[in-house]
């Protein structure tokens, strides 16, 4: 076992134990969905819209049906239940009926004996359209005279958060800064594309296997489209090759397509997306447009923030309302600001629907507020660090929604450590003092992150578990959250081992299956450790009480505290009095003691009200800051990132090595977001749907990464843990943008900041001079 972070009185949690799904992954025996074969299996392919907006004039599948090996072509007319994918607003049809709203929208399904035949036949299905004017960007969408593609104003959702009287403060403020910022799409680019198999059963029920984050969302979707009772649908996750939010909502579509085809053909049906199809039809990070203002007094105390935050939702709303909400709640930044006005709008366009992506609206708002904070520092002539120090959240601060931070706030410690480990004081120099063709710069960005779904999804913020100690002392666990590569099954095993008092490697977590535990909500929002962790702690705790009783009996004492070192139980007061874990288990079985239990956890209550935009939005927050060191070539405008120091207050690192892995992976996704990942959609058509055209970071782009973990325990988290999955994706991009400014004096208002963008800024500055 490797290093632990804080001093540990635990035998299991806090250790960097080896992840429990790794042998099959390094040997290649792990089975991802495309590795499964079922007897008699058919293959599905999707017929997709070839125009961004249009009425379907005709649909003809005769040619496709004639192809040898084609079994059927299904359309919306074949859907036995409702032809809609149930997300939040139910505006997304499973298969288009009379019109299409984006290039790539699903219209029909071809089922055939091989995937090649299915794909070939899908191209032979003839669809003609009456093309309609398409909305290409969100500004166009919000114009009064715009074509309407959603409701009567194209607005999927809007939120207003108002605290104090920002407008009034701006009028009288000593210093005001403002900026307009845009960010582009980001593609999840998980290495395993979307895929599902639906397997119909003789009793009329159906089992879905596949690559997914949220089996319970899929469960709801299948019930909805097939119109079958809930107990006839079972969803099983297969080993999943990356997700990052991209397998949160849209797998419901893939699964529902496979389920429909299987239900109608009465055969197992597999659907695996090609990379191009995955690019074109699956969700993306929302492009954003943000106008922001800060007011401050002369000493640098921020007195007001005003934000207009607009997301381009694409053709259907999917999870846009909640992405918008998370971004809005955090939009003023991790600062204690008494007057805040935030207006957040997500509107429809005729492009691929945007949805969940690690960070969930926060990378966009962070780019705006953390760029603007740096501008404010320039205007006040104080260092960007000092300005953050003056205003940052501490215990006692209030958020934009008026929530008082009463506990577990490690932002100050995080910033301090990040500054130290990045050698900030040695490297920082104001941009005017930097010279030469290649210039170094250092920048920082900070953020806070509400853990879990908070008020945005409070009825979903609960989780179940099932824990069973077997006769030989090994343990089987079922939870409702999924393993995506982040390592949650390992952390869950560590928690169970700690609670039960058994060795970590005795514990096995079963593949997530909706028939084993009740709906435990989605595997998103950095909530799994907290939610499922607590549910397992609860179940294992119940079993442990029974075990402790037996231990006392076996040791012949009436009472006393029982402890464990993972092998033996012993009396706290007299450690020499001990019994072996497995002997106790055996004894319990002999005495017919039940060593199984269900567990349950529901998050603390939150009070945020949509009407007022005020109240407690989340029960706890993680805090993060990243410092970036870059080198900018002022001739070619190329940026090379040299070092990223990313610090995170996560309550407690239950497995430090896995935490580092989350940080390193997240910051590199954010580096791609900052510099190279540039999806282009022109007139509704995606121009670069491939890894050749859309550049995610490769091994050649990787700077030195220093992950920093701070532990400010959350009293209700398992062993104090909060959450970590999303925060590493939030600050690095902006830290890089701020570092570029520090190197060159060039302030980007766009992400990604490609060499072309920088050249543009450079030219612009010269013109001004």
């Amino acid at each position: 076992m490797k290093k632990t972070l804080s001093k540990n009185n635990f035998h299991s949690v806090g250790n960097s134990v080896i992840r429990n799904d790794v042998i099959e992954k390094v040997t290649g025996t792990a089975k991802y969905i495309d590795d499964y074969k079922f007897g008699d299996m058919l293959y599905g392919a999707t017929v997709r819209a070839t125009v961004p907006h249009g009425n379907i004039k005709s649909f003809n599948s005769a040619l496709a049906l004639k192809i040898d090996g084609v079994i059927a072509v299904y359309t919306y007319k074949d859907v036995p239940g409702k032809n809609e994918v149930p997300f939040i607003l139910n505006d997304y049809p499973l298969l288009a009926s009379d019109k299409v709203l984006f290039h790539g929208q699903a219209i029909a399904l071809v089922v055939a004996k091989t995937p090649e035949i299915a794909k070939f036949a899908a191209k032979k299905v003839e669809v003609t359209y009456q093309e309609l004017p398409a909305i290409n960007d969100v500004h166009q969408s919000l114009k009064k005279d715009a074509v309407k593609i959603f409701g009567n104003d194209n607005i999927f959702k809007r939120y207003d958060i108002i605290r104090g009287d920002a407008e009034n403060v701006f009028e009288k403020a000593a210093v005001v800064v403002e900026g307009k910022y845009t960010t582009n799409y980001q593609v999840h680019a998980y290495l395993e594309t979307q895929g599902m198999v639906a397997d119909p059963q003789p009793d009329g029920s159906i089992v879905i296997y596949g690559s997914m984050q949220c089996p319970f969302y899929i469960h709801d979707a299948i019930v909805h489209i097939l119109n079958v009772p809930q107990n006839k649908v079972r969803i099983v996750q297969t080993t999943t090759g990356g997700a990052f939010g991209g397998k949160e909502d849209v797998p419901s579509i893939v699964a529902a397509h496979a389920a429909l085809a299987a239900y109608l053909s009465k055969k197992p049906v597999k659907i695996i997306y090609s990379r191009e199809e995955d690019f074109q039809a699956m969700s993306k990070r929302h492009p954003s447009y943000i106008e922001m203002k800060y007011a401050a007094d002369k000493k640098g105390k921020i007195t007001a923030a005003q934000v207009r935050y607009i997301l381009d939702g694409g053709a259907f709303s999917t999870l846009s309302p909640v992405v918008l909400w998370r971004g809005a709640v955090h939009a003023a930044g991790p600062y204690n600001i008494p007057n805040v006005k935030i207006e957040a709008i997500c509107a429809a366009t005729n492009k691929v629907p945007c949805g969940a992506f690690r960070g969930f609206g926060q990378p966009q708002t962070t780019f705006a507020n953390e760029s603007l904070i740096d501008e404010l520092a320039v205007k006040l002539n104080i260092s960007p660090l000092e300005l953050r120090r003056i205003n940052m959240m501490k215990v006692g601060s209030r958020t934009a929604t008026g929530q008082k931070i009463t506990r577990s706030c490690g932002l100050e410690k995080v910033i301090k450590q990040v500054v130290q480990k990045s050698d900030w004081n040695k490297i920082y120099l104001s941009p005017e003092k930097r010279t030469g063709t290649i210039r170094t710069g250092i920048g920082i960005a900070a953020s806070f992150y509400g853990v879990g779904l908070g008020a945005g999804g409070k009825y979903l913020d609960r989780a179940g578990s099932y824990v069973q100690v077997q006769k030989d002392g090994t343990v089987i666990i079922a939870i409702g959250n999924t393993e995506l590569g982040q390592g949650v099954f390992t952390v869950i095993s560590q928690i169970a081992a700690e609670m039960l008092g058994c060795p970590y490697n005795f514990v096995r977590v079963l593949k997530t299956d909706t028939t084993r535990v009740p709906d435990s909500g989605p595997t998103v929002a950095s909530r799994s450790t907290l939610m499922s962790g607590n549910a397992v702690r609860n179940a294992a705790g119940i079993i442990r009480l029974r075990i402790d009783k037996m231990v006392l009996e076996m040791l012949n004492v009436k009472s006393g505290a029982v402890k464990s070192n993972g092998k033996n139980y012993f009396l706290s007061s007299d450690p020499k009095k001990k019994v072996r874990y497995q002997d106790v288990v055996k004894k319990c079985y002999g005495k017919r003691i039940n060593l199984t239990s269900n567990g349950w956890y529901a998050g603390e209550d939150v009070t945020f009200s949509q009407e007022t935009g005020q109240g407690n939005a989340y029960y706890t927050y993680s805090y993060s800051a990243t410092a970036a060191i870059v080198k900018v070539n002022t001739e070619t405008c190329e940026v090379s990132v040299e070092k990223l120091v990313s610090g995170h207050d996560i309550g407690k690192a239950l497995n430090p090595q896995l935490c580092e892995g989350q940080i390193e992976g997240g910051v590199i996704q954010s580096l791609g977001y900052a510099l190279t990942e540039n999806l282009i959609i022109k007139n509704g058509i995606m121009l670069n749907p491939s890894f050749a055209g859309y550049l995610i970071p490769t091994s050649s782009d990787i700077p030195e990464i220093i992950p920093v973990i701070v532990e400010e325990p959350y009293h209700d988290g398992p062993f104090g843990a909060k959450g970590l999955g999303e925060p590493p994706m939030i600050t690095p991009a902006t830290a890089i943008a701020n570092a570029i400014y520090n190197a060159t004096g060039w302030r980007t208002d766009k992400l990604p900041v490609t060499p072309e963008v920088l050249l543009d800024i450079k030219k612009h500055l010269w013109k001004k001079i």
């Binding site: 960097s16 080896i18 992840r19 799904d21 790794v22 042998i23 099959e24 992954k25 390094v26 040997t27 290649g28 025996t29 792990a30 089975k31 991802y32 495309d34 590795d35 999840h188 680019a189 998980y190 290495l191 395993e192 594309t193 080993t239 999943t240 090759g241 990356g242 997700a243 990052f244 090609s274 990379r275 995506l484 590569g485 982040q486 390592g487 090595q657 896995l658 580092e660 892995g661 390193e664 992976g665 997240g666 910051v667 590199i668 996704q669 491939s690 890894f691 050749a692 995610i696 970071p697 490769t698 091994s699 050649s700 990787i702 990464i705």
Partner: protein, 158 residues
């Protein structure tokens, strides 16, 4: 036209009757059941489908099986010897270089080719060796440290 094609796969001779332009990836996965070779893009851009052919790394998704005639192919399944993990596999585990695992078979094979060539690779060589293999989960950091550690381990073991 289908043809008989023979090659050595993980040390064993195999023969398939397929169209010679069928990709090696499809032949391995579909005709031979070697699903440890992964399909991430099927356009030669991600490295998930990496195999070793006669000592070189190849993206099997753009490699026509006809060209494999007579060659020796290694997939990740050919790395364990009698159930014992290869040192690279062991060290990838220890270092936490694996998350979702989808890129892992390809990356480990690319590393094997590197370490077969040199046991003291420089930083640039290490980056170069896996530059054709995308990983979206790990940020590559722990992959680099695993490679360095594996090199040292194998050097001292020799």
């Amino acid at each position: 036209m289908e043809k008989n094609i023979k090659f050595i796969l993980n040390g064993k001779e195999v023969e398939v009757t397929v169209h010679p332009v069928k990709t090696l990836l499809k032949v391995l996965r579909e005709d031979l059941g070697h699903t440890e070779v992964k399909a991430g893009c099927e356009q030669g851009e991600c490295g998930s489908c990496t195999v070793i052919i006669d000592g070189k790394i190849v993206n099997s998704c753009i490699f026509p099986v006809g060209q494999a005639e007579g060659s020796s192919i290694i997939t990740i399944a050919g790395l364990c010897k009698e159930g014992e993990l290869h040192p690279i596999q062991k060290i990838f585990i220890e270092e936490g270089a694996v998350q979702c695992g989808f890129c892992t078979p390809g990356i480990i094979l690319a590393v094997k080719v590197l370490l077969d060539r040199t046991l003291s690779p420089g930083d640039e060589e290490i980056r170069e060796a896996v530059s054709g293999n995308l990983c979206r989960c790990t940020g590559y950091s722990k992959i680099f440290s695993a490679i360095k550690k594996a090199a040292v381990y194998m050097r001292t073991k020799k």
